[in-house]
């Protein structure tokens, strides 16, 4: 199956990006959510490189 990439572009927020990622990981990796984790089978979201 061919994986297609969707590239996202982060914004200048008041919370640093690293903190956002850590917060998301902290919640998503809770066992109650891990089992429910869904994904688009052929789509991968990645962060665009900053120009």
């Amino acid at each position: 199956m061919r994986i297609r990439h969707i590239k996202l572009q982060k914004l200048e927020g008041s919370v640093p990006w690293d903190v956002v990622v850590e917060a998301v990981k902290f919640v998503m990796e809770k066992p109650k959510y891990k089992k429910q984790k869904k994904g688009f089978r052929n789509i991968k979201y990645t962060l665009r490189k900053e120009s």
């Binding site: 297609r4 969707i6 590239k7 996202l8 572009q9 982060k10 914004l11 200048e12 927020g13 008041s14 919370v15 990006w17 903190v19 956002v20 990622v21 850590e22 917060a23 998301v24 990981k25 902290f26 919640v27 998503m28 809770k30 959510y33 429910q36 984790k37 869904k38 994904g39 688009f40 089978r41 052929n42 789509i43 991968k44 979201y45 990645t46 962060l47 120009s51």
Partner: protein
Amino acid sequence: MGAGTSAVDYDIKVFINCPFDDFYLPLFRATIFAVYSCGFIPKSSLNENNGLDNRIDKITRLIEHCRYGIHDISRTELNAAELPRFNMPFELGLFYGARRYGNKHQKKKIALILERVKYSYQKFLSDINGIDIQAHENDPYIIIRHIRDWLNTNAGGRIIPGANMVWANYLLFQKQLPELSFAFGYSHANYIPFNDYCNLVMAWLIGTRA
């Protein structure tokens, strides 16, 4: 397209023209989630906060930099002061004017116009009769479906997930949002500012890969 915006950026930016009140927040947040899920970038006047910036200049600049526009004209009813709200129809007019009178990039503009109940716009904005307008019925699922289908139609071969998958992920994101907000440093999800909410959605999507 103006200075500082590449052609690639222009083709993935979506101007969101909608109310910013608490009642509309569930639809606004669903809109942001749908736009990101489809690989586009939502832009709103909430992106920037510069006290020296004139509001109308900010809006026209945003419109200039976005190929796509989502315009919700459903909130034209009277406010507490018994006055109608014209901001959304006005910004739709600016967007339309940019396409009509702008350069070759501006002429590529594409819009999704939303209202709450089908054909209600005919009572207050009959000049746009004949344009296909979608009704969202104040339902986040319907708004997600309209946005996804509209982007899918106009995305020029871009890969876009199905509406039901976007909705399933949105429900899961919503379920986790109170805990995400707390881990993020906010006591309530409604207090998260626009840019931080966008980054939260993005980080969640990147982390949600199966």
